[in-house]
Symmetry: C2
Subunit: 372 residues, 2 copies
């Protein structure tokens, strides 16, 4: 015999019930409104695409974590999206190739993994994001961080902190200031990301050791990084980070971890991770990158993706609302007028319907709502 | 060589680009607001479930049209949802089993088919619906039709018509008024649905022939049906239809096709299909039914599902909006205040950004938007 209560849904998948589903809708709307307010136009790509399109572009998606199946129409492999950024890149490189730049696009939708992992058992998540296509300057990076913070605040996040990184730091330094054999670059990059000083030295990256300590609160970490950078190979990057930090001001706590690479494999000069109070793990990531395609498209871009599900789970029940019970025989026109001004109504279907049991706070008497 | 332009997305799947994606968001919000206004609480089931759950419940979903795959965690077969009604039924029978009845639930989300068919090539659709769990009376049926009409109007539908049917008509008549051998019931039902008079007579359903002509505008069709129903086996059903029609009033054109079964295989005494001007095919369906589960749950319900995609495609570009260009060096606090009162802003990232080219209608001069 199966245990019905534990066996209703596959591991890592769940129903969102009232009042959380209403809160999820509110959060999504609030975030979409912030993105629209900053001039981002929504796009809605399909849930499913050719696996090749989803796997071949810039995002760090692993094929083995995709739900894949054979398309009975084309006999080609299709996959469910695991990351909408890839889809927005495809749209920018094809359908909106000729739209004026910078092109600001936003998206919000469900993404699905074949399986969760230890830290993140959920297989389905809401992804909300915004991309500036055709620009990866400090101005674009600043806008991206500011809009991400504002979107999360609209979603109810508090005490936001942003961690900056420099994804191409090793490549930049290895070119001149701290020369490395080409073959050593990936290893040095990896050991810095892993913060493994011993392996870093063993890989020939002793000169990179001080980078491991140029981390922490933004102002002190960037001063340390500047001190390391005697040849000023990083000067424009550091100046860029300072400008972005100035734009953010005191709307978020800022930290710097210049060697962080995990999650930024495809970013160019700038990356950021965003956190909020009471939420374990990151709420999203962003940065500068390039959109490329097999057709030869190659274009700078800046953007971010947010995963607001943990915020929704946290705010349970905060969205409770007045509800007006409409007794049998009520005036339908009066009820319609009250809905127009924002009332949520619950109409009696038979004599047994009970206003209080159905969660109503008010009852309609004639043309007037009376408090229960 | 592949044709890149035709080869970007699988057949039956497409991107929604600006301005249609914004219109899709507006339509979804408007429909959700109508459902919330009538006291329906949203639920959000996952995109994926055990195939068994999705296929075993009441909806008319064909297994072979589902995207299915093996769950690496449970090694059981999972499927992408093709119909959210089934999921809402599961929720009502399990997670919300003990919530007070009538339980009003709403939902809005993407559903996906493995393949389209000749008439409907699309594989992905937006489904929006509302269910009243625990009641299948005339009052519930009336509310369902009224709310469906209101939701479609909010989505921009005009000139709405509703076609009523009586899904269990043959069963009701065969019980006494127009007796049939049990074995003949499914055939008579099928030939009536197919409107095939010859096969109907051949199947022993000659007495049912007049039903084929009790169709058309509601008032005349119901008069014909009453004339056929000498033994008054249908009396309560006909009275119910009249009461529903009275509730709808002149908000939609009404027709009756009492033998229509296609799409209503799981409905009980009442079904309806809803259409609008300029949209080929139905925009949705609803009716009364029963929610049952392997665990022994058995409960009356009434509801509808709408598929608003054709309305969105039709309203292209209607949502254009003022946009305010923010020149380099603008006052960020002024811009934030203008967004607060509803402006959509587009900030210059460098000197080359052109207000008109970026679709802006206004430019910020100091603290004032000036028309371009």
């Amino acid at each position: 015999m199966q245990d019905m209560t534990h066996d209703l849904l596959p591991e890592g998948l769940s129903d969102r019930l009232p009042p959380l589903a209403a809160e999820a809708m509110r959060v999504t709307r609030a975030m979409n409104d912030v993105l629209a307010g900053h001039g981002y136009d929504p796009v809605q790509p399909p849930m499913v695409e050719f696996e090749r399109s989803l796997a071949s572009r810039m995002a760090g998606t692993e094929r083995r974590r995709m739900v894949r199946f054979v398309d009975p129409a084309s006999l080609r492999t299709l996959a469910l999206r695991t990351d909408m950024t890839v889809q927005v890149g495809r749209i920018a490189a094809t359908g909106l190739k000729d739209a004026p730049r910078p092109l600001r696009l936003s998206y919000a939708g469900q993404v699905l993994l074949l399986k969760g992992d230890g830290l993140e058992p959920e297989r389905e998540r809401l992804q909300v994001g915004a991309e500036i296509v055709g620009n990866d300057t400090v101005a674009a990076a600043s806008e991206s961080v500011v809009v991400a913070i504002e979107a999360l605040k609209a979603a109810g996040a508090t005490d936001i902190s942003v961690d900056f990184t420099l994804p191409d730091l090793v490549d930049t330094l290895a070119a001149e200031a701290l020369p490395l054999p080409t073959a050593a670059i990936p290893t040095v990059r990896r050991e810095l990301d892993a913060k493994d000083a011993g392996s870093l030295v063993a890989a020939g990256g002793a000169a990179y050791l001080p980078l491991l300590y140029a981390t922490g609160p933004f102002d002190s970490a960037i001063a340390k990084l500047a001190a390391i950078d005697a040849s000023e190979a990083l000067a424009t990057r550091l100046e860029g980070l300072k400008q972005i930090a100035a734009r953010i001001g005191d709307s978020a706590r800022l930290t710097l971890d210049p060697t962080e690479r995990h999650g930024f494999e495809y970013q160019s000069w700038f990356g950021f991770t965003i956190y909020a109070a009471g939420v374990r793990g990151a709420l999203g990531r962003g940065g500068t990158y390039r959109i490329t395609s097999e057709g030869g498209h190659d274009e700078a871009a800046t953007g971010f993706s947010l995963y607001p599900d943990p915020l929704i789970a946290r705010s349970a029940g905060s969205a409770s609302k007045d509800r007006l019970f409409l007794p049998l025989g009520h005036d339908a026109a009066v009820a319609a007028r009250l809905r127009m001004i924002g009332w949520h109504t619950v109409a009696a279907l038979d004599e047994s319907d009970d206003a209080a049991k159905l969660g109503c706070t008010h009852v309609l008497h004639g043309a007037e709502p009376h408090k229960l």
